[in-house]
């Protein structure tokens, strides 16, 4: 998936550099104060500077030395997308349609990331998990979770 020219060190070094630089840039907007009376900007700017510096060193080293290769396995784009979608979908559905629909959605979408998808297993799993959730979280821990769509929703 990823090109040979970008190693793990290179990408992570760039990431740290960007995040560090961003922290410095945003941090400078806050009051820096003085050394004896440090304002809210002081520590973030210092940390951001250190992070950016580390990023540069990690990146620089990746240019001159052989470094950590990325894991041999392929980039799991499908899992990354489906698992994230399942979680985000759950959150959206929980507010709009209640727990039952949200659980159904999460189990179906997440299971699609697995190498073997069986409709029967997913259906059974949905029912079992929903029953467990209702028992543990709604009755056991008294969490305030809407179960069905017709209930008013809280945000």
């Amino acid at each position: 998936m990823t090109g040979k020219h970008f190693s793990a060190d290179m990408k992570s070094g760039l990431f740290f550099l960007v995040v560090g630089a961003f922290a410095v840039w945003r941090g400078l907007d806050y009051d820096m104060g003085t050394a004896s009376r440090m304002g809210p900007g002081y520590f973030p700017v210092v940390l951001g500077g250190i992070l950016a510096l580390l990023g540069v060193v990690i990146f620089g080293r990746s240019l001159v030395a052989s470094d950590d290769a990325e894991p041999q396995e392929k980039f799991e784009a499908k899992s990354l997308f489906l698992i994230t979608l399942a979680v985000v979908g759950f959150a959206v559905a929980l507010m709009k349609f209640g727990l039952a629909v949200a659980v159904l959605l999460l189990v179906f979408v997440a299971s699609a990331a697995s190498d073997s998808f069986s409709l029967k297993r997913v259906a059974v799993l949905t029912v079992v998990l929903l029953a467990m959730c209702v028992a543990i979280f709604i009755y056991g821990l008294n969490l305030f979770i809407p179960l069905w769509p017709d209930l008013p929703s809280w945000i």
Binding site: R26, D31, P44, L51, L54, V87, A110
Partner: protein, 501 residues
Amino acid sequence: MDLIAHLSLGFMTAVSPANLFYCLIGAVLGTAIGVLPGLGPLATIAMLLPITFQLEPVSALIMLSGIYYGASYGGSTTSILVNIPGEVASVVTCLDGHQMAKQGRAGAALAISAIGSFVAGSVATLIVAAFAPVLARVALTFGPTEYFSLMVLGLIASIILAQGSILKALAMIVLGLLLGLVGTDPGSGAQRFTFGVLRLSDGIEFVALAMGFFAFTDVIVGANKNSNRQLVTEKVKGLWLTKDEVKASVPAIARGTIAGSLLGILPGGGGMLASFASYMIEKRISKHPERFGKGAIEGVAGPESANNAGAQTAFIPMLTLGIPSNGTMALMIGAMMIHGIQPGPQVMTTEPALFWGLIVSMWFGNLMLLVFNLPLISIWVWLLRVRYNVLFPAILLFCCIGLFGIKNSVFQIYLGAAFGVLGYFFYRWRCEAAPMLLGFILGPMMEENLRRSMQLSHGNVSTFFTSPLSAAMLIAAGALLILVLLPAMRQRRGEIFEEET
């Protein structure tokens, strides 16, 4: 005398029916989840944190520690029966434990691992009880300057034993420190890095961070790899040890306990380092080192004892200094803060019942595991066979509901999902997330102490070097850093040199 008074106070707290119950629940739940595929102790504790929110702080911590050592028991069981370490600390147990299982001695391997863990856990509990107050008394004399330097030392020391690149671990710590600053600045009330998002003004929710980087990322990595686990034996029998096995195990347990207790106190130590060290020791002093890797019982007894002793003494810096030595301890500190307890040396004096109750409960937890673990082995074997593609939707679901339950808001779920995605990239880039968790916990405390020391010294940085204790800790941190970076540099240079010639 103090020790006895303290332990009896702890005993009174720990034997209350509620606390015994939560200790048992924690230990059994921890073992069960430790046995299930694909869930390490960090993900387990992160996932179960929300359940403890409504408990008393003591009960919550007792249950969480139960989950912690329960998960390490469970990890040993998977090592022995399926040759898959449930956690890093039980990697060595695979070597000889699994060979024993292949030779039909699975029962003996499980038994010695439980007995060794119990003995080591009991000794380590006493060590914690004896040494924690001493360390706490020293730490109470620390001013903000010493505290800041101590945190620097703790953070640097914790990455020495981290796998992979030291530089990346350092960067992850700094990233964690920065993430810890998100929200309202306690010094000035200014909003930092919140980007106008109101929900972020309380800071990034610790549970969302932990679940995202540990549970969600693990699921993304593992969802498509439905490894079929091959069990060695359908039925585990023959739990009784032979005379020779007992003779070989007793000294191994003793050595493992000592090594583990010492190594557990070190930052970055904990169970993993301890179990590796113990295995090396056993192999080195054995008259028949060739037996190792072929089912030597000392190779199970020693590391398993060391692992548990180390896991327990890792509580010492956490309880007395408020400084986590590894990812799990960072989660425990996070849990304390959620319950409104500011970790640090004052915990022992302000919350004596919690402090001593927690310590004594560890001994009870270990006893329960010894008593229940072996009879329940058929349940563990059944759980071993649960397939990951059934399990991971359940993990996601429990995390999501836990995240929702924190503040009855789905915002935490979105935050967790974002961290899960970021965590997958860190996994690809071989950047370990545990050091970041340590930084996240310590970030606000570090800033506070830095701010106060600078105020006291009127902005003079030299204050960190004029206090002898602080200077010593900073020099130690610097020396450690140079020490770990140097060989790496030399090795790199060597590689380049080789390529050129």
